[in-house]
């Protein structure tokens, strides 16, 4: 939302050589594009894809919805309720953790590690494990929905608390009051805008968590309805569900955004998507401690989880069990070859998908920068699509692309495309006018503008998006593999799940999580180094 509004405000007073389309209001342009897309979609579905199960025409989707509206609305209501509970609990937990991290700075690293680990969990595979504790009811989807929001809200709240003006904090301190007073009187108020930016992202995420939780065996809800429809190749049904999920998730995103603007109209739009990287402490010993303490905390949590819920040893696997399974028992070599072989496939298809999405996003962002009327027509659509949980629409993509390695690649590509596009485009629009003026004064070509100004200014946003994309892409890939493709570690997990092979399930979850966390930190380290090397005074 903010991206488009901001571009309008900072656009040069008179763009040189504008097209006539530049004068059409953006709303009209995007509506026109929307209608054109719908018409083309209808046409394709009725001709090229007629009778192929791959694409439903929009009219058929509407008819299907009204015919079975009782069923759809019942399940939609169920999933929405689940997501709402998850949203509540997850955000409460996240805020409590953020408060603890602010008041007890020495805990910050460890809490951060736990929260990041939760973000990196392959949600689809922990549903069966959670179900061991919660039983068959609705608690597992609620728990997953809660876990899905913890990271973004935690990061947003922390960012908000840290944004508190230092001078105001000094005033509190100068009256001899401590950290707690400073927190109550300054930080809480200062955090509201950032917190709302986080909650806004959390709304679709909670919905995503609920639906993914329902994928693996719930009695009601959109997730299980999707899985059944996928098995029966009910294309129209899958489309209805995808459209409903999109509308509800986007609605939540917009509603919370509006609430945030209503409550703090003075605040500028904040983008929590670009979370700053934490700086490493100096000194080898500090750095080692900074690395080991959080790992230890994660393992303590793991044991505590098993102990608190008293899970039977047959189901419960400790870190030691997982290690043994991979490296010391007699079947270990076989397990290793299954897990790491499948992991290789997953990583390869995921990276390919990510790169495709990234290149497409950068190219689109540059086209939008160079052709303003295209930006005005398409950007609002891209911004809206960024907020929807693409994973929920996985079944639609599965039907369209087919079941195979390409599906994973396609889903990851679509997932990475929209956030990268919006974040990079927004960063490019913030290229200082002065720099553009210098380039213009030498009549620089578009290529020179791109190379010298737009691409470099988008690098921080690009790297921040990439960091977040590591866990989310792996989640998307495993969901696709679990639901459809029969390849990769997602397929290994679904097989283990159907055979009640909890050893393999735990090992896969542990390996995937570790890979995601390491990937996140590798990108973060690269990001830190690049930003330092660029010595960029670009503010984010």
């Amino acid at each position: 939302m903010s991206a488009t509004a901001e571009t309008a405000a900072t656009a040069p007073a008179r763009p040189a050589g504008g097209s006539r389309l530049d004068r059409v209001p953006p709303r009209v342009l995007s509506s026109a594009v929307g209608i054109a897309v719908l018409l083309l979609w209808e046409l394709l579905a009725r001709t090229v894809y007629a009778g192929s199960y791959r694409l439903s025409p929009p009219t058929a989707v509407v008819v299907e919805f009204f015919e079975f509206r009782g069923l759809y609305l019942r399940n939609l209501w169920h999933s929405t309720k689940t997501a709402a509970w998850g949203f509540l609990w997850g955000n409460l937990a996240a805020m409590a953790l953020a408060v603890a991290s602010t008041l007890l700075p020495w805990l910050r690293r460890s809490i951060g590690a736990v929260v990041l680990t939760v973000f990196c969990l392959p949600f689809i595979a922990i549903a069966p494990i959670l179900r061991l504790i919660t039983g068959p009811g609705n608690a597992t989807p609620i728990a997953l929905s809660a876990l899905a929001v913890v990271f973004t809200t935690y990061v947003a709240a922390l960012l908000g608390f840290d944004l508190a003006p230092g001078s105001a904090l000094d005033v509190v301190r100068s009256y001899g009051r401590g950290r707690l007073t400073a927190f109550r009187s300054v930080r809480v108020r200062a955090s509201v805008p950032a917190l709302f930016a986080g909650l806004q992202i959390a709304a679709p995420a909670a919905f995503l968590g609920a639906v993914v939780g329902e994928f693996t065996g719930a009695h009601r809800g959109l997730g299980i309805l999707t899985v059944r429809a996928l098995g029966a190749l009910q294309t129209d049904r899958i489309w209805v569900i995808a459209v409903m999920a999109t509308i509800v998730a986007t609605g939540g995103y917009l509603a919370i955004g509006a609430l945030g603007r209503y409550l703090c109209p003075w605040s500028p739009a904040l983008d929590v998507g670009a979370v700053p990287v934490p700086h490493a402490e100096p000194g080898l010993l500090n750095r080692l401690a900074g690395l080991l303490a959080p790992i230890a905390v994660v393992f303590v949590f793991w044991y505590a989880f098993l102990w608190v819920f008293g899970i039977e040893p047959f189901f419960a696997k400790t870190p030691v069990d997982v290690w043994a399974e991979l490296f010391s028992v007699s079947e270990a070599p076989e397990t290793r070859s299954i897990i790491f072989g499948a992991l290789g496939t997953t990583l390869w298809t995921t990276s390919l998908g990510y790169v495709v999405g990234l290149v497409g996003a950068l190219a689109s962002a540059l086209v939008f920068i160079l052709v303003p009327w295209l930006e005005r027509a398409l950007m609002p659509i891209a911004v809206a699509l960024r907020s929807i949980p693409i994973i929920v629409t996985t079944p639609v993509i599965i039907l369209f692309v087919g079941r195979g390695l390409l599906t994973t690649t396609a889903i990851v590509a679509v997932m990475s495309f929209f956030p990268t596009l919006v974040n990079c485009y927004t960063a490019m629009t913030r290229t200082p006018e002065g720099i553009l003026d210098v380039l213009r004064s030498y009549d620089a070509s578009s290529t020179a503008n791109v190379r010298n100004a737009y691409l470099p200014t988008s690098v921080p946003a690009l790297l921040a998006s990439a960091r977040i994309a590591v866990p989310t892409s792996l989640l998307g890939a495993t969901v696709a593999e679990w639901l459809a493709t029969g390849d990769g570690i997602g397929a290994v997990m679904v097989t283990a799940f159907t055979r009640n092979d909890f050893k393999i399930l735990w090992v896969s979850v542990a390996v995937l999580t570790i890979v995601a966390v390491i990937g996140y930190w590798l990108v973060a380290a690269f990001e830190l180094r690049t930003l330092e090397r660029m010595a960029s005074g670009i503010s984010r």
Binding site: R14, P432, G434, I435, D437, S441, Y442, N452, A535, G537
Partner: protein, 267 residues
């Protein structure tokens, strides 16, 4: 290669900005004539439209009324011919480039990236030896401005537009750069328009000082500065220099005090 600079003729130029539903007239009836190879200083109260005027001459913006002509070319044609060098109030350096590569940017843009000698000369001229590899974030504000000045000069432009380029510099460095600017200008014959807030600076370097009225900006006084060149620092101590500074200062104060009587001739 002393190419002769282009003459600049600005006649009756006006520029109005739309600002949040309101209108701001930055310039109105702005006239300026700079002969080929001339050196003009523009001086006036903050917000009177000096930067706006410079952007119009640079072809970065178009006037709502009036004409700007440079020896038969429009500002846009001059810009497209890559004959202009600019250094704005804000140095606008690329944060990811070093001092050297920031200066070289201008050469790259005009297709002469291999002219390393020109870059080295200018680094020395603006006194940044030893900082060649530094990035803008590692430089002081004044050093950044000097990089911007070097960048504006490196392509040997026919028209040089400087918008308060010495704002963040100490008096001594400022004086040094003024001397260098004068030397380059004499050698190259580049037509130069300098916006400054310092009256002594304007009187020291320019052939003619134009005093502008507060917004909407127009020229309310012209002072031809007849001192022989090359001008040296001894000039700064002379009575005729002080008299000239006093005269410009008086017009500036008059222009600020008499916003309503813009049309009366103050000089």
């Amino acid at each position: 290669m002393a190419r002769r600079g282009a003459p600049v003729d600005v006649v009756g130029v006006g520029r109005t900005f739309a600002l949040a539903g309101d209108e701001v007239t930055a310039l109105s009836g702005f006239d300026m004539h700079v002969p080929a190879g001339g050196f003009i200083a523009l001086i006036g109260p903050s917000g009177c439209g000096k930067s706006t005027a410079l952007r119009l001459v640079a072809g970065l913006d178009t006037p709502d009324e009036g004409t700007i002509d440079m020896d038969g070319s429009s500002p846009d044609e001059m810009r497209r011919g890559q004959r202009i060098g600019v250094a704005f109030q804000d140095p606008s350096l690329l944060p990811w480039r070093t001092v050297t590569t920031n200066i070289r940017l201008a050469l790259e843009l005009v297709g002469r990236r291999h002219d390393t000698k020109a870059v080295d000369e200018l680094v020395e001229l603006v006194g940044l030896q030893g900082f060649e590899k530094a990035r803008p974030s590692q430089l002081s504000g004044g050093m950044r401005q000097r990089v911007a000045i070097a960048r504006s000069l490196v392509t040997k432009p026919d028209l040089l537009l400087l918008d308060e380029p010495f704002g963040a510099l100490d008096a001594l460095t400022r004086q040094q750069l003024n001397d260098e600017l004068q030397r380059i200008w004499t050698a190259r014959g580049t037509t130069t328009i300098l916006v400054t807030h310092s009256i002594p600076e304007a009187v020291y370097v320019a052939d003619e000082v134009l005093v502008m009225s507060p917004r909407p900006g127009s020229v309310v006084a012209r002072h031809t500065i007849g001192f022989e060149r090359p001008r040296t620092r001894e000039l700064l101590l002379t009575d005729r220099f002080h008299a000239e500074v006093e005269a410009v200062s008086a017009s500036l104060h008059r222009s600020e005090g008499q916003v309503v009587q813009l049309d009366t001739d103050p000089s």
